[in-house]
Each structure stands twice: as structure tokens, then as C-alpha cells.
Symmetry: C2
Amino acid sequence: MQRNQSSSFYLGVDGGGSKCKAVVVNHNLEILGSAIAGPANPCVDYQLAIDSITESCGRALAEAGLSKEQHRIELGLALAGVNFDHVFQRVNEWSHPFHSMRLITDWHAACLGAHEGRDGAVIIVGTGSCGYVCVNGQSKSFGGHGFPVGDKGSGAWLGLQAMKAALLAKDGMGPPTLMKELLCTSLSCKPEDLAIRMVGASSAQYAQLAKTVFAANKQGDVQAAGILNEAIDYIEAMAHSILEYGPPRLSLVGGIAPFLMPLLNHRLREHISRPLANPEMGAVYSLLKNTKT
Amino acid sequence: MQRNQSSSFYLGVDGGGSKCKAVVVNHNLEILGSAIAGPANPCVDYQLAIDSITESCGRALAEAGLSKEQHRIELGLALAGVNFDHVFQRVNEWSHPFHSMRLITDWHAACLGAHEGRDGAVIIVGTGSCGYVCVNGQSKSFGGHGFPVGDKGSGAWLGLQAMKAALLAKDGMGPPTLMKELLCTSLSCKPEDLAIRMVGASSAQYAQLAKTVFAANKQGDVQAAGILNEAIDYIEAMAHSILEYGPPRLSLVGGIAPFLMPLLNHRLREHISRPLANPEMGAVYSLLKNTKT
């Protein structure tokens, strides 16, 4: 891959609902500094997102011994929520303090990272879920419509399904499930207080409960197995849709990925490759010449 | 039913996520005034709830030509959300301006209203859904855990399912459905903008979309029929659980009830009776002597 051999330094940022990660590299892609700051989803809180981005960038640059006044810093900024036009526009108009800025979706950055800037596809299963494929300069996304309307198979979705099953069991209107006891342990409450504990809960809070589905499934819980089957069906359908576009590589990334991976059909697993780099490096790749985006 | 023949006037209030209705009656239960004000769900906005209650009461009393300074006004206050202990406690500590106040859940008021203060049961299917049975001084609720974790079969749940099906169809990951076109018409947007239109939407906003499921079902849409079957299964299971408690009467109430009623199993429909009065009258019944609550 040909790179801009100028005196630029590249700052890659990946921001989402729970945290914002920054990395700073030189033109040889050697990592000079990195940092993690708080939430950076501009859909949820625009100013907090800008503050978290600023903080993570400042700390990564400080670790690298660089300053935006003395060095030419190019920012590759990947954010959740900028798939929505009006959110993209607002962030893109941010009067950032760097030499330049390129704004992309967090999906795109995950894809660029997983395949070191080359063509490929990703299925991201973290707090939310979505698919993204980028081949021959064409890209397409699948799902990723947010919680609770989309994001099937994601941590938030798994947590919500666990809670639904537990409440049906508590009411005697659904089969018993170990998830009820596991959720009560996880939330330190009695079954009758489960619902109140989740009033107005965020997707990140539901995602915290996803582990109860995997734990109950391991102990043979039929309801948990049913939830995981539905998740797997969705992720597999997404993978098949993505593979029709012929991406050279496909990676499964995100916090829930390691738990779902062993449950996928073994023939599909053969099509899935290890991600080569993380999304903040993907944001760096978006800045480099000859990177197909 | 024996009534308190004092000089009291009874103010019945039923408050929920979208509106607050008040009625004022004399000791013969003759309606002297009524009013409707804005949202009154103390879980969502405590101060707004208090303001809406105050406004609806003030206007109903004014219509009746009564004043809380010159007349003995007893308030029966039925509110959504007070099934949660801490919410009940907070509202119950409100320094209301009336002679006395009795606070009950909106479910309880719907049940008291539907059976004129006598034993019975209700299934409420409006923005949310839940069941409530009151027999021989014992009561039990079913479901009603709130959106999105509970409230299956409700308007909000139907709207959410419609949106999920439409987004799967849009992504080519689910079968086509008329609901996609109907939702686009309803929200005046293109399919690719459906998700953004519902970011952070309230249960009331989702409930506005429930009509698309019934409309699509009428036109033979298989996906819509599947959603309605799931709703009906849940409501029927709830009805059977409730009937085990032997309530003398069972009513189906709420904005979605008339649409679901014709879809219920005809043998179950025979067990369902017309509600005799509305929930704000139910709140009045909660104040009367010899009412089993």
C-alpha cells in the first residue's frame, strides 16, 4: 500500500456509546501513542462525544510527544451514529483543531481495520449489531438500525430477550428459565423487581445482561438456547447476504463475537477470518492514499 | 352498593403516558364535571404528572361549580407506574390540596370501572398491555412490565414489530411486507429513513404505528398476520391465566382492544364482557365503602 510520505501524523479515533479510543501513528504506521476516553455517540450526547474525542486525542498526542500546534495532524474520526445524514453533517461541521479531518462510520472503520485498509467485510456484534461490506469502492451496510428496533443478535438484544423470558417465567406465562435467577443475581434483586431495575435502561445496560444467556445455555437452559438460535440465524443470514458481494475476507468483531463464533455453522466459520487490526487503526487507514473507501 | 352519604364529592382521576382524565361526581355518582389534561406518568416526568393531575382536577371541579376550599373533595387517583413501590411512595407523599387522596394503579382503576367496583378482571391493551384480576379482596397482575421489555400485544409492541419487519424487508434479510410501505406513508419518509425517524421514540410513538399491522393484515400480509398471531397467543394465554382465578367478569379494554377482539378465539370471546364504566369512574369506586379493593 502506497502511503503519504509527508511529515503528517495520523490520528485514528473510534467512538461509540461506551468509550472513545484514539491512536496516533507516523507515516510508517508505527504506533506512537494511544488513549481511551468516555462515551462518544453523537446521537446520544453531541457535546459529550466531542469532549471524549478531544480528550482521547489530547492524551494520545501527549503520549506521542506531539502537539497539534507544531505538527501536522490528520484526524480519521470513526463514530457510531454518523450513518444518519444529519448527525454526519453536524459532526463534520465541528471546528476541530487539526490539519484535516475525515469522518466515517464506526462500521467502515471496523472493516478497514479488520482488513488493513483492503476490501472486505465485517459483522459487528457488540452492544449493537450490523454488517458492512466494502468491495471495489462500493459499500453496503446490513441492519444496524439501533436499539430496540434493530440490532438483533447484539448484546443489547440478547439482554432484552433474557429479560423478556425471565418476566414471562415470573408471571407463569412462559416456561421456567435459569435466566431469571441469573438476572436476579446480576442485578442483585428479586424477580418481582427485575422490570423496575430496567425502566428506561440504555442499550449498554441491556448488553451487560447478555452474559446470562450464554451462562444459562451452558447449563442446558432451553429458553436461552432458543434465544441464541434466533441470534445465530440472524447473524448467519447476514453473513450469507454479505458473502454474495464477494468480499475477499469476512471478520466477526465486537464484544459478543467470541461467544457467538463457536455457535456458528462450521461451514460458515471457514469463511471467517481473524481481524488484522482494530477500528481505530481502521480510522487511520481511511486517511491513507489508495485505500479503497 | 352502600355509599358514604356525607357531603363529600368524589374526584376520580386516571393518568397515563398520553393523557390524564378527571371526573367529579356526587354521592349518587351523578357526573357533575369532567376534563382531560396532558400526560401524567410519574415514571416518565413526575412534575408534569402532578401538573396534569392538578389541571384536570381544577377544570373538572370548575365545570361542576365546586371548589376545594368550600367543598369536601375526596380524590381517587389512578396512575400508570405506581405499581413500582418507590413511584407509589413519591406520589403518595404529594401534598395534594384535597380532603383526602387514595392512590391506586391504573390497572386497578380499569378493573373497578369495568365492573362498577365489583370483583372482576381486565386485560388492558392500549399503548402498553397488562392483566389484572381482583377476587375476594385478592388481586394479581400479569405482564405490564413496560416497553420494550414487556407489554406484548400492546400498541407499542405492535408498532415495534411492524418496524422490525419493515427494516428486515428493506435490508433484504426478511420477507417483503406491506407494512414497509404503510410505515413509510405513516411517517412520510423513504424506507432508508424509517430507522432514523424512530431513534429514541417513546412507547406512545410506537403505538401510533400499530394501525399499520391491522391494515396490512386486512390486505393479506403474511408478516402482519404473524405478528397479530403472536399478540393473540399472548393475550389468550393471559386470559386463561386470569380465568383460573374465577373472576365473575372479564373485560378487554384500551385503545387496541376493539381491533384485537374479533381475532380472539370465539370460545374465549364468550367469557369477555363489555366494560361498564371507564377507569376514572373506577378511581371513584376505589373511594366508596364496601368496594372490594
